[in-house]
């Protein structure tokens, strides 16, 4: 089947703008925000969200959280190459941490991310922002901020392309 476009560059930009406002709104007591992107594309989404948030006056830092070493599916498949974890100098203790990923499906990556966070410190609140929620959850995990909800079949595949990595922007389903 030919890929069908779900989001174009302008849609992605608008979704990230809206999510930035939703993050500010939910952050009622103006706590320090730390946006941690999950490699690979989550890291770039976190940076863009941080720029949007800084633009509307929020105090925010962005970083990256690699979850490879915490995955529950390491056995029985080729070893994955880990990516760097970059925690902002101020750490995450007592902060409001927003995890940022491109596509949410089973929730297992986020489970791994929560375990990884626990080894790095103790945030006050942890929230989850994703560009696309495609359903098929296997764990009791739910996103707080969603760019687009997409009902999918398990056999379908969502491809997120971002300018920083792929030189063009779109989200397609196939």
């Amino acid at each position: 089947m030919a890929p069908r476009t779900l989001l174009q560059a302008e849609d992605i930009r608008r979704a990230l703008t809206r999510i930035a406002y939703e993050i500010v709104e939910s952050n009622k007591d103006d706590a320090d925000l730390v946006l941690l992107g999950i490699p690979t594309r989550g890291v770039h989404l976190a940076r863009r969200l941080a720029a949007n948030l800084a633009g509307i006056g929020a105090s925010v830092e962005a970083g990256a959280l690699d979850v490879t070493m915490y995955r529950d599916d390491l056995r029985g498949r080729p070893t994955r190459r880990p990516s760097p974890t970059e925690i902002p100098a101020g750490g995450i203790d007592g902060k409001t941490v927003v995890l940022v990923d491109d596509v949410l499906m089973s929730g297992r990556t986020i489970r791994a991310a929560l375990d990884a966070l626990g080894d790095l410190g103790r945030p006050r609140i942890v929230r989850l922002a994703v560009l696309v929620d495609r359903g098929h959850r296997e764990l009791p995990i739910r996103p707080d901020f969603v760019g687009k909800n997409v009902p999918t079949a398990t056999s379908e595949r969502i491809n997120v392309r971002l300018e920083e990595i792929d030189a063009f922007e779109e989200v397609t389903i196939q």
Binding site: D66, M69, Y70, L74, R75, G76, R77, P78, T79, R80, R81, P82, S83, P84, T85, D115, D119, L120, G121
Partner: protein, 324 residues
């Protein structure tokens, strides 16, 4: 990658993947909770038939930081002193369910036999075999060189054009052999400097230059000067007239240290014979990377254990078969 027996069988991609993974492991060693759950439920056996402090402890710390269970086995005080063969020891470990075996043995090729004889299913890491290879030492040396040269921007870089001079007991040194294959694979230019009696026969086929004059090598100002330990315990015969002559002709004494460029790093795989191949002044100078090498050893061994034991060992990111 199923086993790590020799740096000669690594591809450039595999070597760089291990070094890059070690960068991430080094970050773990800097944080408060120095532990990852990655190898929980796996058992790593340290099988040491030869004395070792830093390598055994380094592997033990590495395995524990990845949450593996570690069993230390040293030949002294074990059934080996009653004459048990390597095969019987291996089959005992197999019956106990070892997932990984880190072996040091006095006989060159013992890790290869252990990996390929069909006695065990475990992944095998060579932690030094006779005068053959010591691959994790070479990997940690390459990692240390890369970090000193490129700092935080080390990921993905090789050692293109870096001049490395290895000095001393090449003949008995498995460290030298592993380093020669790995450093040249990564693009470094390796030069050996040693007394003629401590250079192996058949060296002509190696991808290195050789020389006999340490003063000339020092004045050439290499980026890396690696001093090897004089391995007294492996020397049945006299390879040089005496310790004082060796220290004068082949040792890094303070006067030679002063002639080195400030940017040259002085490496030593340890344990050091202070006053013989390296003076205390050189070992303790800012140019010395000896303690960096020890710290980096843990990170590199974590990376090796991860790639050997975490996933399905029949394929791995080391082969470029990365998951999307």
């Amino acid at each position: 990658m199923r086993h790590l027996l020799s740096t000669a069988e690594l591809t450039r991609d595999e070597a760089l993947t291990i070094l890059d993974t070690a960068e991430d492991m080094a970050d773990v060693s800097d944080r408060e909770v120095k532990k990852l759950p990655t190898l929980r439920g796996r058992t790593v056996v340290n099988l040491f038939f030869e004395d070792s402090t830093r390598t055994r402890i380094s592997f033990e710390v590495a395995a524990k930081r990845l949450s593996a269970d570690v069993i230390n086995f040293s030949a002294k005080g074990s059934s080996v002193s009653k004459g048990e063969s390597l095969k019987d020891t291996a089959q005992t470990l197999q019956a106990m369910g070892a997932d990984g075996v880190v072996i040091r043995h006095g006989a060159s090729g013992a890790p290869h036999t252990l990996a390929h004889a069909g006695w065990i299913d475990a992944g095998v890491v060579n932690a030094g075999d006779g005068t053959h290879e010591h691959p994790t030492q070479a990997l940690l040396d390459a990692f240390t060189i890369r970090r000193r040269l490129h700092g935080a921007a080390s990921r993905g870089r090789d050692l293109d054009g870096v001049a490395v001079t290895i000095v001393g007991d090449i003949l008995h040194s498995r460290v030298a052999r592993s380093n020669i294959w790995l450093l040249t694979l990564l693009g470094a230019r390796v030069r050996l400097v040693a007394p003629a009696t401590l250079l192996p026969v058949g060296i002509a086929g190696w991808p290195v230059e050789t020389g006999y004059d340490l003063d000339a090598a020092v004045d050439a100002g290499p980026e890396v000067l690696m001093m090897l330990r004089v391995q007294g315990e492996r020397m049945g015969d006299a390879f040089f007239p005496g310790e004082r002559e060796y220290a004068r002709e082949w040792g890094l004494h303070p006067e030679r240290l002063a002639r080195l460029p400030a940017t040259t790093m002085v490496m030593h795989p340890g344990p050091m014979n202070r006053g013989l191949e390296i003076s205390a002044a050189a070992a303790d100078s800012p140019a010395s990377t000896v303690l960096d090498q020890v710290a980096n050893g843990v990170s590199v061994r974590m990376a090796v254990l991860y790639h050997l034991l975490a996933g399905d060992s029949r394929g791995s990111a080391l082969r470029g078969e990365e998951e999307p």
